[in-house]
């Protein structure tokens, strides 16, 4: 009841996603054993198509989330939204939740599509027969010996979801920031988005360099190369990233809330 967000445009996206799923099921069945030039070419074509579609879908989802937020709170529709007997905090919360749900769905579908494309019977048999070797190569030794594919995948998935939620928060705060530029609100929002992304990238680089043990190894590993443990590295990256993302998301959320409360100037 709290958030009667509109799923109509999103439903269209979902339909698209579903159809993509179907299509990829087909692609996934191509058997790479027969490697004639034509098959290779088709293969590459399909991969390009796949990546473009995935990118388009993701961009579309996030863009739509941002646009709906903008339309609902800051344009003519804002007159309706703001005169409802609901506080701004509730509005922001419900929209963030709705946006996050879609981001997670988007991410899940992406994972699903990738799985469908990759896991043809051929690849699956290849993987199972060489499973131990592959894991060792990635660095599943010592403390990480008990790692399996599925748990690694789950962790990766959760991490990606967190990333997507934090993207939603970032988009909403860019929209809110854009409102501060009274004459070029949309442009302001776009600029803010890039500004925030840049700041975040720089920040994450700095933090990693300071606190990431394994990353230091990369810098030094150029000379040694053998002692690099991929899994350890990834876990490190994920740990610091998670903290960073959570922290910045909270800050951005608070900022968005503040802007919405103090700077309402609907035209």
């Amino acid at each position: 009841m709290k958030s009667l967000n509109h799923f109509l445009p999103f439903l269209h996206i979902f339909a698209l996603l579903a159809s993509i799923l179907m299509r990829l099921f087909v692609t996934g069945r191509i058997n790479p054993q027969s490697s004639s030039k034509q098959v290779d070419f088709i293969f590459i074509l399909f991969f390009i198509l796949f990546f473009t579609t995935i990118t388009a879908l993701s961009t579309g989802t996030y863009l739509l989330a941002g646009i709906r937020f903008y339309k609902n709170m800051f344009t003519d529709e804002g007159y309706l939204t703001r005169t409802l007997p609901v506080t701004n905090a509730t509005h922001l919360l419900s929209k963030t939740i709705a946006g996050s749900i879609w981001a997670v769905i988007n991410m899940s579908v992406i994972y699903l599509c990738t799985y469908l494309v990759l896991c043809t019977p051929y690849i699956q048999s290849a993987v199972t027969s060489h499973k131990a070797e592959i894991l060792r190569e990635f660095g599943a030794t010592g403390e990480y010996a008990g790692l399996s594919f599925s748990s690694a995948l789950t962790v990766l998935f959760l991490f990606s979801c967190l990333g997507s939620i934090s993207s939603i928060v970032m988009i909403y705060s860019s929209v809110a920031l854009g409102q501060l530029f009274s004459s070029h609100r949309v442009l302001g929002a776009v600029v803010s988005y890039f500004a925030i992304s840049t700041v975040l990238s720089v920040l994450s680089l700095v933090v990693m360099a300071l606190f990431g043990n394994e990353t230091r190894l990369i810098i030094t590993a150029g000379s040694e190369g053998d002692n690099f443990n991929f899994i350890a590295y990834m876990i490190d990256v994920m740990k610091t990233s998670t903290i960073l993302m959570a922290g910045t998301s909270v800050i951005l959320y608070i900022m968005t809330h503040y802007i919405m409360n103090k700077k309402i100037n609907l035209i």
Partner: protein, 233 residues
């Protein structure tokens, strides 16, 4: 009963030099239909936005039923803005559900009855309706609420004369002694007869607050004529 709307020294400035609203003092009683009249840019819209908590005052106070603008006042204020503020992709009946979800005092039966009177297809999407029909839908939604204060911004502008008659009679039909109706409009001539009082706003200040019959008795002119005199360019 206490007045439904009170302002003390209400001011809204956008910068040091220009104030959209300057030191407004007034109080509106329940059971009245009041006209908010003034040229464009006089501060009417600013005043209306302040009532609806879409703007915050720079100084002074505004109280609706004794409360400051917020969630509680929004429950008892029903606002019809000048523009279309509905999501155009929605169907009429979806909007009715939307309103009844958010407002306890929204009567779906009343809304459906009025839509039926006007033969508006409740299954239609808003963007397929003509401008006049959209405005009528918005008015119906606003008047189907059992509010304490109705704020109507240009309810009959851009609408044909027959529809105007219907809109005015809808407003009169929904009149009740516990509520006040504030109408902001340029079409004074058409609306004079249903007003109890009029407020003239000029350059952010209240220049007149009088009953319609008072004006006609004391000055022997219609409100429309008086308006033209007061606001002569």
């Amino acid at each position: 009963m206490n007045p439904i709307l009170e302002c003390y020294g209400l001011t809204k400035s956008y910068n040091k030099i220009y104030s959209a609203l300057n030191n407004l003092n007034l109080s509106l009683e329940r059971g009245q239909i009041i006209g908010l009249l003034g040229p464009n840019g006089s501060g009417k819209t600013t005043f209306i936005k302040l009532i609806n908590d879409v703007l915050v005052p720079t100084s002074g106070e505004i109280r609706i039923n004794g409360m400051a603008p917020g969630v509680e006042t929004k429950k008892i204020v029903s606002y019809l803005p000048e523009r279309t503020y509905l999501d155009e992709t929605m169907r009429v009946k979806e909007i009715i559900t939307y309103f009844s979800d958010f407002y306890d005092n929204f009567s779906s039966e009343r809304a459906y009855r009025m839509l039926d009177d006007l033969q508006i297809d409740t299954n239609a999407r808003l963007k397929t309706l003509s401008k006049g029909t959209k405005e009528k839908v918005q008015l119906i939604l606003v008047m189907s609420r059992d509010a304490g204060l109705y704020v109507l911004d240009e309810p009959i502008g851009g609408v044909d004369p027959a529809s105007r008659d219907y809109i005015l009679s809808t407003i009169l039909n929904n009149y009740n002694e516990d509520a006040a109706i504030l109408i902001s409009t340029h079409l004074i001539h058409d609306i004079e007869n249903i007003l109890d009082r009029v407020l003239f706003i000029k350059q952010g200040q209240l220049v007149l607050n009088a009953a319609v019959d008072e004006i006609r008795t004391e000055q022997g002119k219609s409100v429309d004529t008086l308006f033209r005199e007061v606001f002569r360019c």
